[in-house]
């Protein structure tokens, strides 16, 4: 099944908003670190509901935000939500593919991607594309919950028809450098908000032990790799 088929279905049944709510626990910390200045143009790869751009429009002087998504229904929803919640912000949504970015060389100040990068057909090509569209000094904030060290995520592939890439932290750093990006930071951003029940309630439907859930959310959290265009 294609990105379009899989994620159009997600958008249609409201999973775009569900992801927004869950991913926000760590995404807000990721976005808060971005050195976005007045007048900057920011690209969000795999924008989903488009919340990252709405948040940046509210918290920074970003002039224009572009959300790219391979699923037309995702882009359509994101555009609606943005018109509703942030009508004054200059946000635009585009249907496109990570491996074939429809943006000119050196045209964007920053790029961000939350919980989407590993769906790329060819993640190395995607990194080269990101390096191409960023201006010198532009940053790429790449945040993922699906990665090698997070053993609790390994089962996700079985539930999704799109092939996923499961790199570990060092592979992310290596691939960024291979694509011509400097690696400025790597971090595990903790989710301190997902509610973890008291020990006596385990096992739950999803978790055998409380320790595993603590490890998943409070310790491993979201793997963030920050690249910078030279």
């Amino acid at each position: 099944m294609s990105v379009r088929d899989e994620f159009d279905a997600w958008a249609a049944d409201g999973r775009d908003r569900g992801m927004e709510e869950r991913h926000w626990h760590t995404a807000k910390h990721v976005l808060a670190r971005m050195p976005v200045e007045d007048g900057d143009r920011v690209l969000d790869l795999g924008t989903g509901s488009g919340y990252a751009l709405r948040a940046l429009a509210e918290s920074t002087g970003m002039t224009r935000g572009y959300g790219l998504d391979g699923a037309p229904e995702m882009a359509r929803n994101a555009r609606e939500y943005a018109l509703d919640a942030a009508p004054a912000a200059d946000l635009g949504f585009v249907v496109g593919d990570f491996g074939h970015l429809p943006f000119a060389d050196d045209s964007l100040d920053h790029a961000v991607t939350m919980e989407a990068f590993y769906y790329s057909d060819d993640p190395d090509e995607t990194l080269r594309e990101v390096a191409r569209v960023l201006k010198p000094g532009g940053t790429f904030y790449c945040a993922v919950n699906y990665y090698e060290e997070n053993v609790h995520s390994h089962g996700w592939q079985d539930t999704i028809s799109v092939d996923m890439t499961r790199w570990d932290a060092a592979q992310y750093r290596d691939a960024f450098r291979e694509a011509g990006l400097h690696v400025a930071e790597q971090d595990n951003v903790a989710d301190r908000e997902t509610d973890i029940p008291p020990a006596e309630e385990f096992p739950t439907d999803s978790w055998d032990t409380r320790e595993a859930m603590v490890e998943r959310y409070r310790e491993l959290g979201t793997l963030l790799t920050v690249g910078v265009a030279p």
Binding site: S2, R4, R41, R64, Y66, G70, P72, A75, R76, R79, D90, G92, F93, V94, V95, G96, D97, H100, L101, P102, F103, A104, D105, S107, L108
Partner: protein, 63 residues
Amino acid sequence: MKESLLDIVCCPLDKHDLELEVTEREEGEEGEIIAGTLTCTDCGETYPIEDGIPNLLPPDMRE
């Protein structure tokens, strides 16, 4: 889409500039483009704009 997108958007295949043709535009001076096409000035490939959203997938990924 806003017309300002043209400053930075390009053909996903060969990265050349795109030419805009508008078939429906919102009212007002800075009205968004609701429907139209974007055509690559180099390879001639055309990309549709529908409901205010340009579809810039490579043609073979469009469906």
